[in-house]
Symmetry: C2
Subunit: 291 residues, 2 copies
């Protein structure tokens, strides 16, 4: 039995949203304490967790609440994991923790950094996301994998004395920081001097940090869990707060639906990074002709 605030943190759903769902759809139906405050029983929490996952998979609340709890559960099980990457699934679900690091490093050496990210890490993340959503991957294992991958990728970010300096970070509320890391390494590979601040920063702190690093650009990542509205608001605010000579780069699934913000380069596909780099930092080629 948890309070509405705890539930909100647990699921990453706003308190207001939880209440309005109850009003509109008649679910959840929490019990009440003597004060009349909501107390959510475990069964409903589990159900809401499924709803949230299905929502992230593209289903809309109206449809989901029209189903019974059992139907929703069935719908989630029915979501198939992409089976093109059968080898990746094995890696994700079965390879032992101790071998994981070695396996990842082997892949990195075989493919080279760029291909490792685009052809291996990106699909890996997709399989992981999907595995987590469909309940086939434990949270703990996901953390283990993320950690392992993050350690290896961070090693690639050796400082550069030349090239445009870019600060990579995420804003408050953003739990997924791996996409940011992947993009940072790709920009680094293109010859940029990338600085990673893997924390959830309030927008005001971003200004301070960009200034401190004397960065030429700031890159931000917005995962699907962030409401597009919020991403838009924060990006617009940040653009107004930053000097105009500092470029802004934004990416992530929250921006997938064409978003045109003046003075901000939006990039929803990691494959576009090299062309984005060429566009935004044209003098890069001079310094590093073998792009």
């Amino acid at each position: 039995m948890i309070t509405i605030q705890q539930l909100s943190q647990e699921l990453g759903i706003g308190v207001d949203t939880l209440r309005v769902w109850e009003r509109r759809f008649g679910f959840p139906t929490p019990e009440r304490n003597t004060r009349g405050h909501r107390l959510y029983p475990p069964a409903q929490i589990d159900d809401l967790r499924i709803i949230k996952k299905l929502q992230n998979l593209g289903h809309r609340p109206k449809q989901l609440f029209a189903l019974t709890a059992a139907e929703r559960r069935a719908l989630l099980n029915q979501q198939h994991v992409d089976d093109r990457h059968h080898d990746l699934q094995q890696l994700v679900t079965t390879v032992a923790a101790a071998q994981l690091d070695k396996e990842l490093r082997t892949q990195l050496q075989q493919r080279g950094i760029e291909a490792f990210i685009l052809e291996f890490a990106v699909p890996l993340l997709e399989v992981m996301d999907r595995g987590w959503l469909t309940g086939k991957l434990s949270i703990a294992r996901e953390h283990l994998l993320s950690d392992c991958l993050a350690t290896i990728l961070k090693e690639q970010l050796v400082p550069r004395a030349y090239g445009p300096r870019i600060v990579f970070t995420t804003l408050s509320g953003e739990r997924h920081k791996l996409g940011l890391l992947l993009s940072a390494v790709l920009f680094h590979q293109q010859g940029c001097d990338c600085h990673l601040v893997m924390e959830e920063l309030p927008v005001a702190e971003v200004l301070s940090i960009v200034d401190f690093f004397a960065a030429d650009a700031v890159a931000l990542s917005f995962s699907i869990q962030i409401a597009p509205r919020q991403a838009k608001r924060d990006l617009a605010w940040l653009r107004k707060g930053l000097p105009s000579h500092i470029k802004m780069i934004a990416g992530g699934f929250a921006l997938r639906n064409g978003m045109h913000l003046p003075g901000i380069s939006v990039c929803t596909d990691l494959g576009q990074i090299s062309s984005l780099c060429a566009r935004e930092f044209p003098d890069l080629n001079l310094q590093k002709p073998t792009g």
Copy 2:
């Protein structure tokens, strides 16, 4: 001009709290858009930031709102930084980024891990906290220092094949993860097998992770920014959800006012860790007689 939600994230103050302050104290007095929604101007945001800092320094809202903005600013400037640690202040504010790592490592080698933490890192954190609160330390520099210290400390956490296994983590909303890291290293030094998950986890995920690691105990850190109420609720909930044979250890300033939760060891001072270890894991001495 930012919305109430953005302001809430920016300051770490609840949306409801911001509204109730306005109702009770007549401040802040945000403008409104055409919908009647609050829009906070920059000057008031700065003032609220000062209020939040003073609140963290122990002042109460009632008193603070009775003052003018200028008086609050004066009060904050008047808060003196502890001058016993003058050398630390220099380190914090003036030592160059490149030398920082070297300086910290020198200190570590001279003092040994335990003394480095208790006699150097802890005061350092205090000076940093205070420096940030009183505006004498930029956010960016604070990040740089934290990062540098974290990197060095993490290296100390080499896995152990023996000793009680403890998972260290923080719950959703906890921004300060450095205290957790310090305690993890101290426990490690006492002979425990410490695993660090430096993320803000929902309570349900903590259960999953403790299970995954097959841990004997879980340690949680609650900084001053967390409301004691919330810490209490989460700890109680977690205790109920965890098997009784798994120990719980909680620490941090949010628990400073004697909190007695059944089945949870509370430790608000890092100096107590060795005795806490002796109490909770009595067979440690047998494996590592030179404590």
